[in-house]
């Protein structure tokens, strides 16, 4: 990233630079605030919270809420904590992300490098699918999963996420491949390379950045999904968000806010990690094409 900006032609004075830093830091504080509140409260005993002390730092620090949320909190009838549901979420999210990204890559490749009559229409249809409100698909989707006999399983949930992930993954790859030099594809074709050979040998190896963008986007959406997870996979194969919701949203029971916050931060762990670790590829990936249309 630094490489790209080191050559930036725009110059500014010292005063302006101080102002810029100030604004950036103020915004950073704004973005960090809610997370800070969660963190602080997850380290307090419950009496301090119900005692009305919600914003202040803990008087007695404790990590008990974290231990409880991870391994002993009551999610259902058994005090399992969030631990087992982590695995469920990973088992579900990884294939769903991989498949929808792969399909999106193929679609993007076809739509840009093998343009045919009606391709733009098809792209339009795929793109509009991003806007369907998920609430309306619940009942018909349940019926179809029932017919396919994968209702209530991880497979069903993977299918649902792949289906509704294709729109966005296709959008990303199409925009990326649109600026990929078509001459390279032509040349390979003249050399006798087939459709899949070109995809595997030429397109995919140069798609690193956009694969990162697409995976980050899909992973965030799929990991955080609650509606589909609750409807199509509850019980033993329930994902993390459903478990977290069970922990946090009990209606007439005692609420342990500190445990809720600890659980919430844990549930967010993988996505946070993805953003922090892969975040630098993210901007690079967006830069490499997705916003160039």
């Amino acid at each position: 990233m630094a490489m790209a900006s080191s050559d930036n032609a725009v110059r500014s004075s010292n005063f302006t630079r101080a102002l810029i830093y100030l604004v950036l830091i103020l915004f950073a504080l704004f973005y960090l605030l809610p997370f800070g509140i969660m963190l602080v409260n997850s380290l307090k005993p419950l009496e301090e919270i119900t005692g009305g002390n919600m914003i202040a730092l803990p008087q007695n620090w404790t990590i008990a809420p974290w231990l409880s949320a991870w391994s002993t909190a009551q999610i259902g009838v058994q005090p399992t904590g969030l631990r087992p549901y982590f695995i469920n979420s990973i088992v579900m999210a990884v294939p769903a992300v991989a498949i929808s990204t792969f399909v999106g890559a193929l679609n993007g490749y076809v739509l840009t490098k093998w343009h045919f009559r009606g391709a733009t229409w098809i792209f339009g249809l795929l793109l509009f699918s991003c806007f369907i409100p998920f609430q309306i698909v619940l009942i018909p989707m349940a019926r179809i999963l029932g017919i396919l006999n994968i209702s209530g399983t991880a497979y069903g949930l993977i299918l649902v996420h792949v289906v509704y992930g294709i729109g966005f993954s296709t959008l990303y790859f199409r925009n990326y491949y649109a600026v990929f030099p078509t001459e390279l594809v032509r040349a390979a074709q003249i050399d006798g390379a087939g459709f899949f050979q070109i995809f595997w040998r030429i397109m995919l190896p140069s798609s690193g950045p956009i694969i990162a963008v697409c995976c980050i986007w899909q992973f965030t959406n799929i990991w955080n999904d609650f509606l589909f997870g609750a409807s199509f996979a509850s019980g033993g194969s329930a994902p993390m968000t459903v478990a977290l919701n069970n922990l946090v949203n009990s209606s007439t029971g005692v609420r342990e806010y500190n445990v809720h916050f600890a659980g919430a931060i844990m549930a967010a762990g993988p996505t946070l990690l993805v953003y922090i670790v892969a975040g630098r590829y993210f901007v690079r990936g967006l830069m490499a094409g997705s916003v160039k249309g």
């Binding site: 009838v77 058994q78 087992p84 469920n88 349940a142 999963l145 209530g152 033993g236 949203n249 609420r255």
Partner: protein
């Protein structure tokens, strides 16, 4: 090592759901996920495990069970309903009308459910005369929770009339306390409104307005007065009430910031959890004006139609266990509610629990036992939520009591 352990636990959870085909098992959809509730439910699971029946747990919390009902619809549409589902009031009737529920008549006759479950409760557990659900508990919603120390400090006795109740709140307000701890969420406002309607017009009016949905009662002078009482209460609520969770409102009472809270008996759990004892640090009494009556909601396990004979057998075993005195005591002591059976020994319950049990039995005999509108036991969900809209809009000052009564008539008509 830890990784192995993780995988093992994950596998154990998966195993719970996949062993269905082999052994006898019940799959149970419920929203009892908070510590105490879930632990109480575990009593049921262990009971069943004792007779060799597995438990496949399917908890979906949120929205007072409405998320669980959404999931249920997805499961039924997929042709794969759970064995037993926690349900409230009219939902049982709706599913029974769809022909989705199993018939428990033989079991009920054998165990004499008709004699031990109050008739008002049976109205929800049965459909066209047949048992379709096993009642777990009875929550009653017309309770006031009060801070004893504050009452003593202000020199307040338990109020017996609406006027005394208002005077007590006035005294608290004058002394600089919050008189009424309240959370501004539609269902909480409706919970309070239940008691106002019962207090103003008694059982007859409650029946006419909430159950028969008689437009004259809904738009009449008594309804206007019930709304006026809501306005009065609004004057005793602090400024920050809106959106507050009910349990934070309870915390205001046990922390000594507020005098009263009008809330169902689940609030007791919060007080007990804060180390207080019923009848000592905190007190419970019926909302003044509603003495002798009980507005209730009841959690039940509705049993779905299943084809497999082994599954049917485990379903009956579960229904039996639900109505067993041991489970009724174990569960309700934790939950704050009272048993659905009226023949249970009250010794294990605390002061409020015993009071609740006695009053339930009394109200059941005198005909003062009514389903709570706020909790879906007086009218179908469409009507109930239409009423919510009006009650909460009025409480938030969108219109005055006379307009609210008119709106009530219009909204109910539209929802039917």
């Amino acid at each position: 090592m830890t990784m192995l352990k993780k995988l093992y636990t994950g596998a154990a959870v998966l195993a719970l759901s996949t062993s269905a085909a082999v052994a006898q098992e019940v799959e149970v959809l419920h929203w009892w996920t908070s510590g105490g509730e879930a632990a109480a439910l575990n009593v049921l699971r262990e009971d069943l495990a004792g007779s060799g029946i597995g438990w496949s747990d399917m908890p979906v919390a949120g929205g007072g069970g409405s998320d669980a009902m959404t999931v249920l619809r997805a499961r039924v549409t997929a042709g794969d309903p759970p064995t037993a589902v926690q349900m409230l009031g009219f939902a049982i009737q709706d599913w029974a009308a769809e022909g989705a529920l199993a018939n428990l008549d033989a079991l009920a006759a054998e165990q004499g459910w008709n004699d031990v479950v109050p008739a008002a409760l049976q109205a929800f557990s049965t459909y066209e005369g047949s048992w379709v659900a096993a009642p777990v508990n009875v929550h009653s919603t017309n309770w006031v929770w009060a801070n004893t120390a504050l009452m003593e400090e202000l020199g307040i006795e338990q109020p017996g009339t609406w006027e005394e109740f208002v005077a007590a709140m006035q005294a608290a307000q004058d002394a600089g306390y919050t008189a009424l701890a309240h959370g501004g969420q539609a269902w909480q406002e409706a919970t309070v409104f239940d008691s106002m309607v019962m207090g103003v017009g008694g059982p007859e009016f409650y029946q006419a307005a909430f159950i028969d949905l008689d437009p004259e009662a809904l738009g009449g002078a008594q309804m206007v007065e019930a709304f006026d009482r809501m306005t009065t209460l609004r004057g005793f609520v602090d400024d920050n009430f809106s959106g507050r969770d009910w349990n934070l409102a309870s915390a205001m009472v046990f922390n000594g910031e507020a005098l009263f809270q009008i809330m169902g008996d689940w609030a007791k759990g919060e007080f007990v959890n804060a180390g207080q004892t019923a009848g000592e640090e905190f007190q419970c009494f019926r909302v003044p004006g509603t003495e002798g009556t009980v507005t209730f909601n009841s959690d039940q396990f509705a049993m779905f139609n299943v084809d497999d004979e082994a599954e049917q057998a485990s379903q009956l075993a579960m229904a039996t266990a639900v109505l067993s005195p041991e489970f009724q005591i174990a569960f309700n002591v934790v939950k704050g509610s009272v048993p659905a059976r009226t023949d249970i020994d009250p010794a294990s319950f605390d002061a409020c629990g015993q009071l609740g049990m006695a009053q339930l039995a009394e109200a059941g005999e005198s005909g003062g036992l009514f389903g709570s509108m706020a909790h879906g036991h007086a009218n179908p969900p469409s009507v109930q939520n239409a009423m919510y809209d009006v009650i909460t809009a009025h409480f938030n000052g969108e219109y005055d009591s006379a307009v609210a009564a008119e709106e009530m008539v219009a909204a109910v008509e539209l929802a039917q």
